[in-house]
């Protein structure tokens, strides 16, 4: 039997396949389709301190081999998360990673403090892509100094593994990654969506009410892979690869580039069993190629 396990810092996963935040609900939505415990883990939809209604429709549109979304992180707030969503998540035997966002550094800290009482959270993933009103609309993730600050503040209130999720919309993702590493992050995950836009030429309106949104799906996979490869070279902590992964073959590209795990996002919409099929495909690939430990392939890309 092939060993698919991997480690994200102190966190051991049975296999490297996670689901990406915001594309897997709070896992319950997928329970009809397969046994969720076959995943390496699930990452929840973003939880914020206060409830958020989400953005005006239309929130989504289809683009070539991709989609744009501007959902606006709707959620009932961390207290309702604990009351309504945690009971289901708690039953899972697979790793449950809670994704947290906030408008201010303090929002992050207070949300995590509330989550600390829950038994069984495997790790936190900090989503820095929420626009920060104070800093003039710049997202936390595009400024190394702020990313560092938030990471350090959250680090101070929890012992649990901390993953910081990075945006690709920056000149140097590794600069931000290094800042997070320096501030005590156990891993980084990348990438969040690329800023994108589409216009309906007939109505002359943007296809997304918020004008621009986040581009995801296979279209962005090459960008994601380049960013992951850059981060792997620049950091010593593990990198979790995200972006347009539809199949086990796609996941293998990220592992070969050095990712310790991957997240499946947009693929879950098209194919609700996509993440499970990636697990199965990785298993099959290892068997066919006589690979005993999948993680032997980590970083095995042959350059030069």
């Amino acid at each position: 039997m092939t060993d698919l396990s991997t480690n994200i810092g102190r966190l051991r996963l049975d296999n490297p396949v996670l689901t990406a935040s915001g594309t897997f609900g709070y896992a319950e939505e997928f329970a009809d389709f397969y046994d969720l415990n076959r995943l390496g883990g699930v990452v929840t939809k973003t939880v914020t301190l206060e409830p958020r209604p989400g953005n005006k429709p239309p929130r989504i549109c289809e683009t070539p081999a991709g989609m744009i979304n501007s959902i606006g992180l709707p959620n009932a707030g961390v207290e309702q998360f604990i009351a309504q969503k945690w009971p289901f998540l708690q039953q899972l035997k697979t790793a449950v990673i809670v994704n947290v966002a906030g408008k201010t550094p303090d929002d992050f800290v207070r949300a995590v403090e509330k989550l600390e009482v829950l038994q069984g959270i495997a790790a936190y993933e900090l989503n820095y892509s929420c626009p920060n009103v104070k800093e003039g609309g710049l997202s936390f993730s595009s400024n190394a100094r702020i990313a560092e600050q938030v990471t350090a503040l959250v680090r101070a209130v929890t012992q649990r593994p901390l993953i910081t999720k990075l945006t690709p919309n920056v000149t140097s993702i590794s600069e931000i990654g290094r800042a997070c590493e320096g501030a005590g992050a156990d891993a980084v995950s990348a990438i969040n969506t690329l800023v994108g836009m589409a216009i309906d030429i007939h109505t002359r309106k943007p296809r997304i009410a918020s004008i621009t949104g986040g581009l995801s799906g296979p279209a962005i996979r090459p960008v994601a892979l380049a960013k992951v490869y850059e981060l792997v070279k620049a950091l010593t902590i593990p990198v979790i690869g995200i972006g347009g992964i539809m199949t086990a073959e796609d996941a293998l590209e990220f592992i070969l580039a050095g990712a310790a795990a991957v997240q499946i996002g947009t693929a879950n919409f098209m194919n609700p069993v996509a993440a499970l099929q990636v697990v199965e495909g990785l298993q099959r690939h290892c068997e066919e190629e006589n690979i005993l430990r999948l993680m032997e392939l980590r970083g095995a890309v042959q350059v030069g």
Binding site: G25, G54, P57, M67, G217, F269
Partner: protein, 269 residues
């Protein structure tokens, strides 16, 4: 009912009116359990550039043959590719999705208002209502006789029918809202009735006004853009006219709907 993804053969596909197709798939379980208003989400295999599945209402079922029909118009790239399927081709279908039209036992009459392809879910509804004792009245409008479909099926399903076309080529000339207005005006105020609605947005707006004017409770099915169809992407919000008690201002078309109480929602486009 648990949702699932099935790989099924196309049993039949027919162009039943200009640019309108009825596609029959084999789906024994769903043919017994589908409720009017529910939908399926179909992968378009020819079009690998189309990321999303395409949602279509369950149109009718045949539990004996174990088949399920959808009725669809060629509206763009995905539906065009779907229309080129042949019997025997295999389709990847996700279902059954969404909620359904509901009614209480004490109703005297169900009034259906359908515009064009909006007729799609109502064949199944009338199938479900086959032994229902109340009165069933169908107001059905098409642009012209060329788009008219389902006439034969409707004949056998025992609803009183008022038909209009915009060009007068079939039934009354004009929009469905004119005879509907007259009809609602003629009803006694005390009867318990429910109106079910499906059609283009301007029609939904107009019928909403009528149901307000005559104070008739109504349910409508919406057709928002959908990336997933089962609540995972949160991309298909329907705005509530009044925030709910818990403060929520949006519901999800795919999961909380696609059927909503007509008065409770806002049409955004």
């Amino acid at each position: 009912m648990s949702k699932s993804v099935i790989q099924v053969p196309v049993v039949e596909i027919r162009e039943v009116a200009e640019g309108i197709f009825r596609l029959t798939i084999s789906a024994p379980e769903w043919s017994r359990t589908a409720r009017a208003g529910q939908f399926v989400n179909i992968q378009i295999p020819q079009r690998n550039d189309l990321l999303w599945r395409r949602p279509f209402s369950v149109h009718s079922v045949d539990p004996v043959r174990g088949t399920l029909d959808i009725l669809f118009a060629v509206a763009g790239r995905g539906s065009a590719a779907l229309s080129e399927h042949k019997a025997g081709d295999s389709l990847n279908v996700l279902g059954l999705l969404g909620n359904c039209f509901t009614w209480t036992a004490d109703l005297q009459e169900i009034i259906i208002a359908a515009g064009g392809l909006g007729i799609a879910p109502f064949i199944l509804l009338l199938q479900q209502l086959e032994n229902w004792p109340g009165k069933k009245t169908l107001f059905l409008g098409f642009r012209s006789s060329r788009q008219a479909c389902c006439m034969q099926q409707l004949g056998a399903l025992g609803a009183e029918m008022v038909l209009t076309t915009e060009d007068g080529s079939l039934g009354h000339r004009g929009l469905i809202t004119t005879p509907l207005d007259d009809y609602l005006a003629s009803l006694d105020k005390n009867g318990k009735r429910m109106l079910f609605l499906c059609g283009p947005t301007p029609m939904m707006r107009a019928v909403r006004e009528l149901t307000q004017k005559y104070d008739i409770p109504a349910q409508v099915t919406v057709e928002n853009r959908m990336a997933c169809g089962f609540g995972a992407c949160v991309g298909c919000p329907v705005e509530l006219a009044q925030p709910r008690e818990d403060g929520q201002t949006y519901m999800l078309a795919c999961k909380d709907g696609p059927v909503f109480p007509l008065q409770e929602i806002v049409f955004n486009d």
